[in-house]
């Protein structure tokens, strides 16, 4: 009995502190495309293009709750470094208006630029000691392909989203989004530059919803 009461409590307790500002959680798994090759390093991802479709390798997905949410006064600055002639991280989801810095950690020049409709910019050539660290504010939603004019093979992706509720899955495709407002929304899973899956979700405060893609 005591044990059952304890279990009950433990089930209820988490709801209460979070539920007080009223929040919901979504968790589940995104069916990721099969990786073509085994990952060499656990933490290294790169962007690959196959038939003009950009995705991470090994595959990852970004799950986000689509919708319009109030914009905060300021957003934290994010960072994509250039290290060993790759972008780290290779895939970065950010909220619209986020400033991203691009520090160069290699010993060579880099020239980060993008021709993507969501953001066109060209940081020019710079060395690791460039100060201030070259940065861009991404104020338009969409996928931004990062390239280096000097190192043609380098690719990076910034997924600029309106929503603040997003998360990158693990390599197995598992995700968990918490602190979501209750309501009727569309949950989307960005899998690659051409593939975004979506599911309607009804979020209720204090509830954990399980959603699997597809």
């Amino acid at each position: 009995m005591r044990l059952r009461g304890l279990l009950w409590c433990s089930a209820i307790l988490p709801l209460f502190p979070v539920a007080l500002p009223a929040s919901a959680t979504v968790e589940g798994r995104v069916e990721l495309p099969k990786s073509r090759s085994a990952p060499v390093q656990a933490k290294r991802y790169e962007i690959v293009s196959k038939g003009g479709v950009l995705s991470t390798q090994p595959p990852l997905a970004v799950v986000y709750l689509d919708g319009s949410f109030p914009q905060p006064a300021s957003l934290p600055t994010k960072e994509i470094t250039q290290k060993d002639l790759t972008f780290i991280p290779a895939l970065l989801p950010v909220r619209v208006g986020t400033k991203v810095e691009f520090p160069n950690l290699d010993d060579t020049y880099h020239n980060i630029f993008s021709y993507s409709p969501a953001k066109r910019f060209d940081l020019g050539r710079y060395r690791p000691d460039e100060r201030p660290i070259p940065s861009q504010v991404f104020d338009k939603p969409g996928l931004v392909t990062l390239r280096c004019d000097i190192h043609e093979h380098m690719r990076g992706l910034i997924l600029v989203l309106i929503t603040p509720h997003f998360v990158i899955t693990d390599t197995a495709g598992h995700f968990r989004l918490s602190g979501l407002p209750a309501g009727h929304y569309t949950l989307k899973a960005w899998i690659d530059s051409k593939t975004t899956q979506e599911k309607p979700v009804d979020l209720k405060n204090g509830q954990t919803l399980h959603v699997d893609f597809p």
Binding site: V48, F113, Y115, S116, D149, E152
Partner: protein, 589 residues
């Protein structure tokens, strides 16, 4: 000449005509064949020369194209490797394509246009454009930087799809009423380094290769035919339009990429070559055109025709003269042969007649002498026997015995003449056979000389002998002896008192020569002493019956030797008789 003579002349004339006709036919055939072969060779040579010229022209064009292709392929591979180009195409930032490529292609467009002689080494482009995924031209944001083109000209750069390989095209750069200029364009695919797909194409326009007139053959004109329009600036407009139509027909009617045909431009014959410049290209078909005036080769042909025709005529004339002479030469022997044969026939007839009469005469004379000797012999014998029986009686006076003795001597003479005549008649009839044995001539002569000295009526003559003993001749002893006797008796008979007889003999290997000379009256020149029954014109005490010499000669000849008078002058007459020597018996003197 008679009828056969005229027929012969006719034959000779017809032979000559036939010979001449044959020669004319042969010469004419050779001339025609020569003309035909020479004309064919000249035409083929001219065509081959022009074709080689055309090929050389094309090869310099192709060399330039290859150079441009290689350079542009490199350029495009480099471009495809550029992040910005990729970004512009893949990220749908087409407006940024030209600015991104500007730096890469700057050197292609910038700089002074090279002089024509360096054009082949230069990559100087006049414009460039990118094609989008569907093959359409991407509008440049600033046409000045990529080479300005008219709307129509730019439209020609579009392709129905993106090319997988380099494509050559020719576009009319400035379309105007005067034909405008033609630019060579190269479309080079840009492959995505990620996917390997063709994501775009770069189209670069160059000034078309202009052949230098000095390189080309005399009067050669070259140009390009594209979009059913000929661009051959050195030709007048009307001719250009005319040729353009001709080429269009030729191209439409033949699926060959390369060919040539003859055309008349303003009345002058020309040989026109064409070759597809961009086989298999997605761009409209363009042809390299070369027009060569044929005036030179035609003139050469004409000259050659005259030369060969002249040579043929000359040959014909020479043939005519030669055949005339040959016919003459050939017919002359024929004619002569005909004449000769007629003459020969007549001569033979005459000879035959003569032979027949001679044979008849001979037979008659042979028969006569045989009959005569036989008829004479028996009465002489009767006479001699009668005389001898009379001499045997002793009741006559001594002078009567002397008379009888003289008469008996005459009968002996008569018998000798009859024997001689008999022998002659046998010889004439061809019945006399010689049984040849070695005969000792020396001994024979000695015996006869002894007899000569013993004769009762022998005059006072001196005998000189000069011959070796044991000279042998081949013959029958009886007749050999007769010859020697005849000659020695003559030498004694016709000698003068106190004269001499010289007998000499020697062997010269095959023959034995016996020479008998004597003093006395000489034989006049021209007197045929060897004739039968010959009598010397001058009567003398000594005389024969006129057949001795004849018989001796006939006998000598029958033996294979001869008898002749060597000389008769200055109180000296010399006969020489040759006998065949007996084999291997005589020593050579």
């Amino acid at each position: 000449m008679s009828a056969p003579g005229q027929a012969r002349d006719k034959d000779v004339a017809s032979f000559r005509t036939r010979l001449f006709t044959a020669m004319i036919v042969i010469v004419a055939a050779v001339t025609v064949l020569g003309l035909y072969l020479a004309q064919r060779k000249v035409t083929a040579d001219a065509e081959r020369n022009l074709q080689e010229n055309f090929r050389a022209e094309l090869s310099s064009l192709h060399k330039l194209e290859e150079l441009r292709h290689a350079a542009l392929a490199d350029r495009c591979n480099a471009l495809a490797g550029k992040s910005r180009i990729h970004a512009a195409i893949e990220d749908n930032a087409i407006d940024l394509l030209y600015p991104s490529a500007k730096d890469e292609l700057r050197d292609l467009m910038e700089g002074e246009e090279p002089p024509p002689e360096q054009a082949a080494q230069s990559l100087h482009a006049t414009f460039y454009r990118f094609l989008d995924g569907s093959g359409a031209v991407l509008k440049p944001p600033n046409p000045k930087e990529v080479g300005q083109l008219g709307r129509k000209a730019e439209a020609q750069l579009s392709l129905t799809k993106l090319p997988k390989t380099q494509q050559i095209g020719y576009v009319q750069e400035k379309i105007s009423t005067d034909g405008g200029a033609v630019a060579e364009v190269l479309a080079v695919p840009i492959f995505s380094t990620d996917t390997g797909n063709v994501i775009s194409a770069l189209v670069v326009g160059f000034k078309p290769f202009q052949p230098r007139q000095s390189d080309a053959g005399a009067g050669m004109k070259s140009g390009i035919w594209v979009n059913r329009q000929l661009h051959l600036p050195s030709l007048p407009k009307s001719a250009e339009a005319f040729l353009s139509e001709k080429i269009a027909n030729a191209v439409a009617n033949s699926d060959r990429a390369e060919n040539n045909f003859r055309v008349n431009v303003d009345g002058a014959p020309q040989l026109l070559f064409y070759k597809r410049l961009n086989p298999g290209s997605l761009f409209p078909a363009a042809y390299e055109i070369c027009v060569y005036p044929l005036a030179d080769s035609m003139a050469q042909l004409q000259r050659l025709r005259w030369q060969i025709g002249g040579a043929g005529a000359f040959l014909l004339l020479g043939g005519f003269i030669a055949s005339h002479f040959v016919a003459l030469r050939f017919s002359a022997p024929v004619k002569k042969l005909a004449l000769d044969s007629e003459e020969n026939r007549a001569r033979r007839r005459r000879a035959e007649v003569a032979l027949a009469s001679a044979a008849e005469e001979l037979e008659r004379s042979t028969r006569y002498s045989a009959d005569a000797s036989h008829q004479l012999k028996s009465p002489v014998t009767v006479l001699r026997v009668g005389l001898e029986s009379l001499l045997a009686r002793e009741d006559f006076k001594p002078e009567v015995y002397e008379e009888f003795s003289a008469l008996l001597h005459q009968t002996h003479r008569l018998t000798g003449v009859i024997d001689d005549l008999l022998l002659l008649s046998r010889m004439d009839a061809g019945h006399l056979q010689i049984a040849s044995t070695p005969v000792n001539l020396s001994q024979l002569v000695n015996e006869w000389l002894d007899d000569l000295g013993a004769l009762p009526d022998s005059p006072d003559v001196k005998i000189e002998k000069e011959f070796p003993a044991g000279l042998f001749v081949a013959g029958e002893k009886r007749y050999t002896s007769l010859i020697v006797q005849n000659l020695l008796e003559n030498a004694r008979k016709y000698n003068r008192p106190g004269g001499r007889i010289r007998v000499s003999a020697h062997s010269n290997g095959s023959d034995v020569v016996l020479t008998i000379g004597n003093n006395g009256r000489t034989i006049p020149r021209g007197e045929n002493i060897f004739e039968r029954f010959h009598h010397n014109a001058m009567p003398s005490a000594a005389s024969g019956h006129g057949i001795g010499l004849n018989l001796a000669r006939e006998l000598a000849r029958l033996h294979g030797g001869d008898l002749c008078l060597v000389r008769s002058e200055n109180d000296w007459t010399e006969f020489e008789v040759r006998f065949p020597a007996a084999d291997g018996v005589n020593a050579v003197a």
